[in-house]
Symmetry: C2
Subunit: 210 residues, 2 copies
DNA sequence: GGTGTGCGTTCACTATAGGAAACCTGTTTC
DNA sequence: GAAACAGGTTTCCTATAGTGAACGCACACC
């Protein structure tokens, strides 16, 4: 098993899968936007080039608009697609979730090179994955290949000292308190260089963005 | 000026703005995904319930799929809509950016209650905003109102001890090494309770998700 | 070189989305 | 209170999206 798949697996477990069956009441949403702006069907018709009747039918879920129609909508109303589809999420989100992890109480995920401790893993559907890692690797050769995954990663050294190898840059020496932000689809790998194994805190973005 | 606007301003400065104009070649994109997965039209047909012929026409831009068809597509291929529309972003992103911040070298943003140090602020267009904060506040009354902002926040106590006040929960005592993840549109506020002012590392999501 | 098989495109037909105008409300105006 | 009006729904037609079957093409296999 490669370093990449190890890490990937850990991330997948941590992020939780998206059930998400698309309830998607497009009509309601459109009406909502229209009324919020105090627009009549005629107004929207002018803006989008779609007939008044068509708009009425879309709002009442009597037809399923063509994709070109949807484009006219988002163009004419000057909104973006996610906005047209995502009022439920905003609503669902307003109740404040939270997930506490006491020191050392995260979920352990050991690999040959890293010992990950996943934080806040009670919570599914989150946009970031935080984890604390003890860097066991002592040389770059211990990695069979680059670690890489979609998205972005932020990393701060909590203890010890590391070398950060990246695909496109010279290795970088980071000491306790130093931090770095990078595109994590660029290959990367950490190696401890201090006497004790270094400890770093990482936060990755998830694919939840949508 | 309230605590809320202080924080908001800081976040806005740190995140950078998105232009984004929507070119949109749906057919090409679908074919791309299909071939990337080594699927035949028949495979996709099975997965989505759409006829082979229909899929062919969509790929060749001979028809504009109905919205229900698009839903079947994203459902059957297990992708989400943005993914179907946004190959350009992925491509543009593949060049690995990075942004190093040495200990104490972040951008300072003092407020009456917090002293923020923005990390990785060279980089615009990022999906997370990391910052280190010294919590000066010593009582909840020092906040004129709840701090709140869209998105999610991860927080780890680096030094000292804090009370985390949140809108919907009892105050929570966090010590060095403890961490918490929460919806940041829920009102929240930190107060130091240790002898010295506590230091926390926070990471917020940005609105870049779309 | 026939013939079978798999994959994409095209054809002919049916189902449905989009548009123009008629049709319903309430509301306002004189 | 009739008439004019404004905003939304329904009707009816036509343009087009969606389907199954037929077709074309390449690459096997013998």
């Amino acid at each position: 098993m490669t370093a990449t798949t190890d890490q990937d697996a850990a991330l997948r477990i941590a992020s939780g899968r998206k059930p998400f069956v698309e309830p998607l009441r497009l009509g309601d949403r459109l009406r909502e936007i229209r009324l919020a702006n105090q627009w009549t069907l005629e107004d929207v018709s002018q803006r989008t080039g779609l007939a008044r009747s068509t708009l009425s039918k879309i709002e009442n879920d009597q037809i399923s608009p063509t994709f070109t129609a949807v484009q006219k909508l988002i163009g004419g109303l000057d909104i973006d697609l996610p906005q047209l589809l995502s009022p439920p999420r905003q609503k669902a989100r307003t109740m404040g979730r939270r997930d506490l992890t006491r020191r050392g109480q995260g979920q352990q995920h050991p690999t040959p090179t890293y010992e990950h401790e996943l934080l806040s893993c009670e919570l599914a559907q989150k946009r970031m994955i935080p984890f604390k890692t003890i860097v066991r690797a002592r040389s770059f050769e211990e990695f069979s290949e680059w670690v890489r995954h979609d998205g972005e990663e932020f990393l701060m050294v909590l203890d010890g000292e590391i070398l950060l190898y990246t695909e496109f840059y010279e290795p970088l020496r980071l000491e306790s308190g130093d931090s770095i932000y990078f595109d994590s689809d660029m290959g990367h790998a950490l190696v401890s260089v201090s006497h004790e194994d270094a400890v770093v805190l990482s936060v990755c973005t998830t694919a939840e963005n949508a």
